[in-house]
Symmetry: C2
Subunit: 188 residues, 2 copies
Amino acid sequence: MPATKQRSTREAILDRAVDLASEEGLEGLTIGRLASEMEMSKSGLFGHFGSKEELQLATIEAASHRFAEEVIGPVGDQESGAERLRGLCDRYIGYMERQVFPGGCFWASVTAEFDSRPGPVRDAIGEKVSAWVGALEAEAEAAGFDDPGQLAFELYSVAQGANSAFQLFGDREAFGRARAAIARLLAR
Amino acid sequence: MPATKQRSTREAILDRAVDLASEEGLEGLTIGRLASEMEMSKSGLFGHFGSKEELQLATIEAASHRFAEEVIGPVGDQESGAERLRGLCDRYIGYMERQVFPGGCFWASVTAEFDSRPGPVRDAIGEKVSAWVGALEAEAEAAGFDDPGQLAFELYSVAQGANSAFQLFGDREAFGRARAAIARLLAR
DNA sequence: ATAACGTACGAACGTTCGTGCGATATTCTG
DNA sequence: CAGAATATCGCACGAACGTTCGTACGTTAT
């Protein structure tokens, strides 16, 4: 079963790539380093992707899957609207708190890295982030908030702030602050 | 006047370095590229700093000066407390909106880049950011808010969110959202 | 049996990185 | 005006970067 073997190798690479990129960035994610961590040759690993950019794009895709599994999937059984919105926010903060990615929120890292570098990588990041904020907004709308876009923006901001404070200062208190802010926002 | 000449060259270098770093990051800030943009030799430029890390630290210092000039200085004549806090927030959002740094908020960029890399550079960034958030908190306290730390965290978060949305999506509306959120926070 | 394919390898390419060394030009000091 | 100090230069280095090459080993298909 070569297809299986291939895919599992590729997936193992990407699993590690996502962790590495969350700490070192998508540019700091180096083929040589990734290869040595996977105990592969550079060329063997490189063959799975064909270019560094393809590796970066595949890494973004893999991170998106992990994010969906950790944050969106678990609230699938909750009713759309206020309840699911609360669940999403809960999982969102929890995902940062237990460091699903070792370098903190993957999207915070790579957004800051690529927001001044136009190209396919930046576009791919933008699509993922936009889809996530859009999901928050959609639930806010279903919950009947009168300015869902504003609410989604603030929820996203507060989560970003908590991630930043935790990653830079190790300040776990930031998660409590974020939850308090979110609770107040959702209670309006 | 050699000291003057030296310092002005060094300052000119750092002025460009700060702009470059806000777009490419402190690691992407490369001595070769910086030298060619300054129309200097690599070694000539390198002599001013002695190591890349020293260049990074000096760049952080220069960015801090520019930030202080643009955001903190202009509100010096306002009365401490609610008035100055409002002024600081105003200048804070304005500083992002008119892109004092071409890559957006310098601190947002370098924080995300270095928050997983312990060392003197990360420490220097942490001190600057902490001083800024501390300043917000101090004004919040002077203004009589009952949880200044929480307020400072939320103000900082919302500004971060606006910067992120603007840099990634070019979404200027985010500044309006940020101002609305801030106004609501300050009116409590 | 043999042809084709997927996967991995080691070696090398050209480029860029940060960093040193010695020489030259400019400027300040006595 | 002589000499010390400073600023800048060209050049070279070793390492790491992304990428390409030719090759070898299994597995699958013919």
